[in-house]
Amino acid sequence: MDLFSNLALGFATAATPLNLGFCLIGVILGTLIGVLPGIGATATIAMLLPITFQLEPVSSLIMLAGIYYGAQYGGSTTAILINMPGESSSAVTAIDGYQMARRGKAGTALAVAALGSFFAGTVATLLVAIFAPPLTAVALQFGAAEYFSLMVLGLVCAVALAHGSFLKALAMVVLGLLLGLVGTDIYTGAPRFTLGLPELADGLSFVALAVGVFGIAEILRNLEGGQGDREVLGQKLGGLFPSREDLKAMVGPMLRGTALGSALGILPGGGAVLAAFGSYTIEKRLSKRPEEFGQGAIAGVAGPESANNAGAQTSFIPLLTLGIPANPVMALMVGAMIIQGIVPGPNVATEQPALFWGIIASMWIGNLMLIVLNLPLIGIWVKLLKVPYHVLFPIIIAFSSIGVYSVKGNAFDLFAVAGFGLLGYVFLKLRCEPAPLLLGFVLGPLLEENLRRAMILGRGDPMVFLTRPISAGLLVLTLAVVVIMLMPRVRRKREEVFVEGD
C-alpha cells in the first residue's frame, strides 16, 4: 500500500540526525518562548520565523512545525499556571486548568494537558496521512451557509460554558459578538464602533482582549487588599503526576476531544477554536458532576486540550492539499515555504513527496519530543509558582506587553490591554465570566460575515440554510441542543449549580 511507502519516505526524511536536531531545537524554542505570558503560537512563530530562513527547505519547515507544537504547548502551560492564554484555543484550557493550579494540582493539570495533546496529535497525524485528500473534499463543501449554521451551533454551546448565571453568560456572549464586530465592515467599508481611530479599522486584537480579561484581571484580583499576594499559588502543591483515577477520568474526554478537534480543524477560520469550546461543552454535559466544571475539572482540561491539538494538526490539511492557509499560523508557514522557494499548492504532494511526507512524519516526531521534553519539565514549571507573586506579576506584565506589541508593532494594542484589563476586572467583580465573551468575540465577525455572504449568494433567499444538507443538519443539531438545554431535568440541575456555586 502506498501509505506505508509514503510514510517510510517521510520518516526517512524527517528522522535524519540533522532534521531530528532541528525538530528538537524548534520544539524547545517554541516551548520556551510560548511559555512566556501573553505570547501565543502566532507571536512565537512570527518571532522565530527568521531563524529558519537559513536552513534547507525541509529542515526549515520541520523546525517550524516543531516551533508550532512547542508554542502551542507552552501557551497552554501559561494558561494553566497564571491564567494567561496567548491564543484563543488555550483560553478554554485556562478555565479549569488555572482552577486546578489554584487548588495545588498544577502538575496534574500540566501532565493531563501534555498526555491529551500527545494522544490527539498522534491520532490526528495519522488522519492527515491517510485521509488528507477526502477530508479536503469535505472541507470544500463548506460554504457560507454551512459556516453560518456551524457558528450558530457554536454559539448555543457557548452559553453552557458558564457555570454561573445563565443571563449573565448570555450577555457576555452578546457583548463579545459586538466587540468582534468592531472594525471596518468588509462588505461596504463602513467603519463600525471605531471611534474614528485608524488603529481600530481591523478590529480589536484578540491577544489584547485575552491577556486583558483573563490575565490582567486575575492579577488585579490577587492584588486586592494591598498585600500583593492574597493568594500564593505555590503554597500547597499536590502530587505532580496524575493519579490512576485522574488518568481514568481523562480517557473519555481525550477521545471525544480528539474526534471533535480533528473534524473541526480542517475547516478554515474558526474551526479549531470552536473545537476547544465545543469539547468543553460536551464534557460538561456528559459529566456526572457538572458542578465541578469551572472549579478545576480534569475533563475540562483533557477534552479541550486534545481538541485543540488535534485541530492544530488537521489544520495543516488545507495547506498541504490545496496550498491555502487555514489560519494566521498556517499563513506564516506559507510565507516560510515561499521564502524557501516552495510555492505551496495542490501539487506539493506529487511534486515534492519527500517534503510533504517529511512534514507529516515530523508532526508526529515533534509531538513525541514534546511529551518526552515536557513531562520532566513539569516539575520546573510548577516550581515557578513558588516565585513570590509580587515578583512574578511585574514579569508577567513585562512579557505580555512585549508579546502583544510584537504581533503588529502597534502601540494601540497595548492601550487595549490596559482597557480590557480594567473591563475584565470589573466583570470579575460582578461575577461575569470571561470565557463566553471570548468565544463571542471570535465568532462575531464569522457569524455576521457568513450570514450576509450566504444571503448574497442565495439571492436573498433565507431557505439556503435549509436546502443545503450540511447546513440543515447543523441547524437540526442546534435545535436538539436547545431542546436538551430547556428540558426540565437539566434545567433544574443548572439552577442547583447556580445556587451552590460561589
Binding site: A139, P268, G345, L457
Partner: protein, 325 residues
C-alpha cells in the same frame, strides 16, 4: 537651570553631528524595512526576498518589520512620521496609490510624505473561475458573463485588495453588474473558489499560479500588455477585446520625505543591483512574477508610477463609490 540649557545645547550639537554622520557612512547600522501587511503574506514575501539581497549589498542588515492594519495605511503613516535618516524605509504595493482615493481621511499625502527609492516588482493578475465554470475560453467567457451577469458571483479579498481593483475594472469593461462577494483576505476567497462556492475572481499570479497549474481553478486571461512566459496559452485581456483591463500589483520602496539624498541614492543603487540578481529572478519567477527592469529601480521611475496610478484609479474608485473608511 544653567546645566539644563547646557544639556540642551549639547543635545542639539549631538543631533547635528549625528545627521552629518548619516550623510557620510550610510548605512552604518541596521535598517528597518516596514511592511504594512501581516507576516507571511505576498507583500511580506517580496519584502523579505528583496531585504535579504539588499542586506548583502549594503553590508548592513535590513530587518523586516510588519506593521499591518487599515489596508496598509497604518504602516505607511508610521514611516511617513519616522525620522528621515534612511534607517526606516517602507515597502508598499499599489495600495499606496489607491488608498489616496479609497480613504477620505488619510494622515499623509502619498506624493509629499515620501521620498521614492524605486520599483521592485510588478505582479500580473489573472482572470480565473471555478474549475467547472462553463465557458471554454476568454471570448466565450465575455459573452457568457454578459448574458448571465445577474446569476454570476465574483469574489474579492476585501475592499482595496488587488482582486477588488481588478474586479472593478472587469465589471466596467464588461458593462455587467456582477454580484461581488468580499472575503477577509485571499485565503478564504480562494478556498471558496476552489470549492466551487463562487464563480469568478481576478487575482495576482502569486496566488493563482499553483492552483491554475494544479487544475483546481480555470484561467481565462492575463491582465498584462503582453502574454506571460508562465502561461503562453493565456490571452491578454486586450486580445480578448477588453483593452481596459490592464493592471498589475506593483511594489515600491520609499523613505520618509526629507531623507538625505545620499541615503536614497545608496538604497536605490542597492535596489538596482538586486534587481539584476539572477537568483531573485528565479525566486520571483516561482511566484509567477519578475523583478522590475533595472532602470525602474530609481526614484524617478517610482515617482512617475505613483503619480500616474493615483490619477488612474481616482475616477474608477470614485465612480464605483467605494470607500474604506
Amino acid at each position: 537651570m544653567a546645566s539644563l540649557s547646557r544639556i540642551g545645547s549639547l543635545t542639539a550639537a549631538a543631533i547635528l553631528l549625528a545627521s552629518a554622520a548619516v550623510a557620510q557612512g550610510y548605512p552604518d547600522r541596521q535598517v528597518t524595512m516596514v511592511v504594512p501587511f501581516a507576516a507571511g503574506g505576498p507583500t511580506d514575501t517580496v519584502a523579505r526576498l528583496v531585504a535579504e539581497k539588499m542586506s548583502a549589498d549594503l553590508g548592513q542588515q535590513i530587518i523586516v518589520e510588519n506593521v499591518g492594519g487599515a489596508g496598509g495605511t497604518l504602516g505607511a503613516a508610521q514611516v511617513a512620521e519616522a525620522e528621515a535618516d534612511g534607517y526606516t524605509i517602507l515597502l508598499h504595493h499599489i495600495g499606496m496609490a489607491t488608498s489616496e482615493s479609497l480613504y477620505r481621511e488619510l494622515p499623509y499625502n502619498a506624493l509629499e510624505a515620501f521620498a521614492p527609492v524605486g520599483l521592485v516588482t510588478e505582479v500580473p493578475m489573472t482572470v480565473v473561475a471555478r474549475a467547472d465554470f462553463e465557458p471554454a475560453d476568454m471570448a466565450s467567457f465575455v459573452t457568457y458573463v454578459k448574458e448571465n451577469a445577474d446569476t454570476i458571483t465574483m469574489a474579492n479579498a476585501g475592499i482595496g485588495a488587488a482582486s477588488h481593483l481588478c474586479g472593478m475594472l472587469l465589471m466596467q469593461a464588461l458593462e455587467a453588474p456582477i454580484v461581488t462577494v468580499p472575503y477577509r483576505g485571499t485565503g478564504p476567497a480562494m478556498t471558496e473558489l476552489v470549492g466551487g462556492q463562487i464563480d469568478i475572481m481576478c487575482d495576482q499570479t502569486t496566488n493563482t499560479t499553483e492552483q491554475i497549474q494544479g487544475g483546481t481553478i480555470k484561467a481565462y486571461a492575463v491582465t498584462t500588455p503582453e502574454r506571460l512566459d508562465l502561461f503562453p496559452d493565456l490571452p491578454t485581456a486586450a486580445e480578448a477585446g477588453l483593452p481596459g483591463i490592464e493592471v498589475s500589483v506593483w511594489h515600491g520602496i520609499y523613505a520618509p520625505a526629507g531623507t538625505p539624498q545620499e541615503a536614497v541614492d545608496r538604497l536605490s543603487t542597492s535596489l538596482q543591483t538586486v534587481l539584476a540578481d539572477p537568483e531573485l529572478s528565479t525566486r520571483l519567477a516561482e511566484l509567477g512574477t519578475a523583478p522590475s527592469p533595472v532602470e525602474d529601480g530609481t526614484p524617478e521611475a517610482l515617482s512617475a508610477k505613483l503619480s500616474a496610478e493615483i490619477e488612474r484609479w481616482r475616477p474608477i474608485i470614485e465612480e464605483a463609490g467605494v470607500y474604506a473608511d
